[in-house]
Symmetry: C2
Subunit: 397 residues, 2 copies
């Protein structure tokens, strides 16, 4: 403001005149970058099953990750967006080049905004929202290195991904905490009541925060998620290229209740991973000292990429290749909880119905919508990975 | 929705469960494209002096219009944005390439969103907002051809400009009327009470809507602005490359009162233009049958582009050149009315104070802020041209 060339304040001006007059709508607040932490300010990350204001997604565009110039993936994203939009408002970020085609492909109920990105994983590059009991919502903007940077990361560069959380918070008009931790939204689940669930494979990986030990990472998670207890599982789902994100392996159904990706096939490398997770969950206590009730959700398949599918991807030197026969990290745990709904992946005709039946038992008051998402899985994730909920602001006290 | 692969509705689901519960905040509505017109739906365009929800701008980037890679213009835009942000929330649209530098240059009070454009004239490419007496706000999305298309337009292509109004309305969550008329926001002023002010030079120009006559253009303006009376002035400010936009020549102070760019120098080509406008205004009656009270606001200068200024522009075959000695269409009428404020251009030390004094007399209850905007004028417009107000929603009846 010092730069303003010159100011003329009128003799006749009445500084106490109120604009706009009382009773007119107010514009949402703008985005400040805060130097405190959510926990210090009394904020916590709510669980996904708490009420939402809406959901954010990104449009798939990369031809080196999505086969056939991303057209089949785009159709699957449209179906996911349309399914979620039955329950809550959906906004999808699209680069300038794809804006018009995305706007045409998506139903009017979905808001389309210009938002560049390096790939379409809003769970991982979007903000993790936190809420205050007196009604405010803010966002945590993690540092991001494309799931491992130059040590096993999935592509380079990732500079546009790094700006996504800031851009979402600017549009939402929410204040931002800039976390010092390299982290992704899919690497943490919370129960909304003081407990976080993470994997060692991801959060202790040398390609994320090599200078930080377990205790320091726990301190950051407490500060930025507003949790008190962190439950460490070991590895994530077999061959998950995110280095074992929790959101393919396990999630909270409600505080004290966990849903775990499972197989009874002891020859499947997933068996030892799930069994280890089951034992750790059995031994753990949550923030309120409770034992966990654990529900086993059998994985689909095992599923693998076909030669035809792999051929549709345009290989590039700076991104991870897709290979025929590659085991896909398919998991029904990667569903999205919308307001009053569950949007779940359909991946395997032999398993979809029993997975859906279990989810119905676990969430009896929610409507279940299934979407065929093999095309999303081929790109390395599923419905939970491509979505990010915005919590509803709790009513002001 | 027919495309959804498969749906499982639970036996146990309770369809009447309300999400989110009463009392929680609601998400803004999404953007529909309507096939009716504002007038048919009971909407009207409010005057700029009515209360605002906020203001939109775009970031100057083109090196073939803004000298020295747009850096001096960017500084002037920052000052305008900061000045308006004292009175109301400001959002500025920036292309992906400039997002970080714009975010750093602008104060935190200004919201920055990614929004591609061909140049930075939000008045002309943004939506013209209309309001309903029962509290709703919608936007009119005009057709746009870069001020004349291939017959004297200022650059090509203009495909990104054509999407700006849609993108603003998506972010604002406001419904959209897609008008069939090629038009720009700077080509019309309204008094909010049934009267519009336009120029023949622009709206009857063969490079805009060559197949439409005056009566048909009037019909479109009535339908999309919700006005009943259209006052036609002749030419706009001398050498205005927009083909005579009204917003450099004249504006409403309140219903029945007009401010007119003026010169007493009969050898200046502006004299005949302003004198003709004065006579037409003298003879006109507004929507309520009133005569106009007209205030003459002397122009600065005359001002011309210096050789040094012209050299800083990187010429390109597809855009209009900048030439040393070129007369600049400087006018103090191109101010912006913010909530409780006027942000006016400072262009000429010999005239700024008397122009400011007149504006203070015309708007005694507003604070006046002056910003040195020669760098904006060099690009072809001024403060009004680079801003677009969003009206506050009237209180629901």
């Amino acid at each position: 403001m010092r730069d303003l060339a010159w100011r003329l304040i009128a003799e006749g001006a009445n500084a106490s005149t109120r604009y706009p007059p009382e009773g007119w709508l107010e514009y949402p607040p703008m985005t400040r970058t805060l130097t405190t932490t959510p926990a210090a300010d009394g904020f916590r990350m709510p669980a996904e099953y708490e009420p939402h204001a809406g959901c954010w997604m990104l449009w798939p565009e990369r031809r080196d990750n999505w086969r056939r110039a991303a057209a089949p993936a785009q159709r699957a994203f449209v179906q996911v967006a349309a399914a979620i939009a039955r329950f809550e408002p959906v906004t999808i970020g699209v680069s300038a080049a794809y804006f018009e085609s995305a706007r045409r492909a998506l139903p009017e109920a979905v808001r389309v905004v210009e938002l560049s990105h390096d790939d379409s994983w809003m769970r991982d590059v979007g903000p993790s929202f936190v809420v205050h009991p007196r009604g405010r919502v803010r966002g945590v903007h993690w540092r991001f290195n494309a799931w491992g940077g130059l040590k096993g990361g999935l592509y380079a560069p990732w500079d546009q991904d790094e700006l996504v959380a800031l851009k979402v918070l600017e549009i939402e008009g929410r204040d931002r905490y800039r976390a010092p931790l390299i982290n992704e939204g899919g690497a943490v689940h919370v129960d909304g009541a003081g407990t976080a669930l993470v994997t060692e494979e991801c959060l202790l990986n040398a390609n994320r925060n090599p200078t930080l030990g377990r205790a320091q990472i726990e301190a950051h998670l407490r500060a930025y998620l507003g949790v008190s207890t962190i439950i460490w599982l070991g590895k994530g789902v077999f061959n998950d290229e995110t280095d074992g994100h929790i959101d393919e392996l396990a999630c909270f159904v409600r505080p004290g209740v966990v849903c775990l990706a499972w197989t009874d096939n002891r020859r499947d490398p997933q068996y030892a991973i799930s069994a280890d997770a089951w034992e750790r969950l059995h031994d753990a206590r949550d923030a309120r000292g409770r034992r966990f009730q654990v529900h086993k959700l059998p994985i689909p398949g095992p599923l693998a990429m076909t030669a035809r599918e792999a051929r549709g991807v345009e290989l590039r030197a700076d991104s991870a290749p897709r290979r025929a026969g590659q085991r896909l990290a398919g998991s029904y745990v990667n569903f999205y909880l919308a307001n009053g709904g569950i949007v779940m992946p359909l991946l395997d005709p032999r398993r979809d119905r029993s997975a859906a039946a279990l989810l119905k038992r676990l969430f009896p008051r929610r409507r279940l919508v299934g979407v065929r998402t093999r095309e999303i899985l081929l790109g390395g994730g599923n419905i939970h990975c491509i979505t990010q909920q915005v919590p509803a602001a709790p009513p002001a006290a």
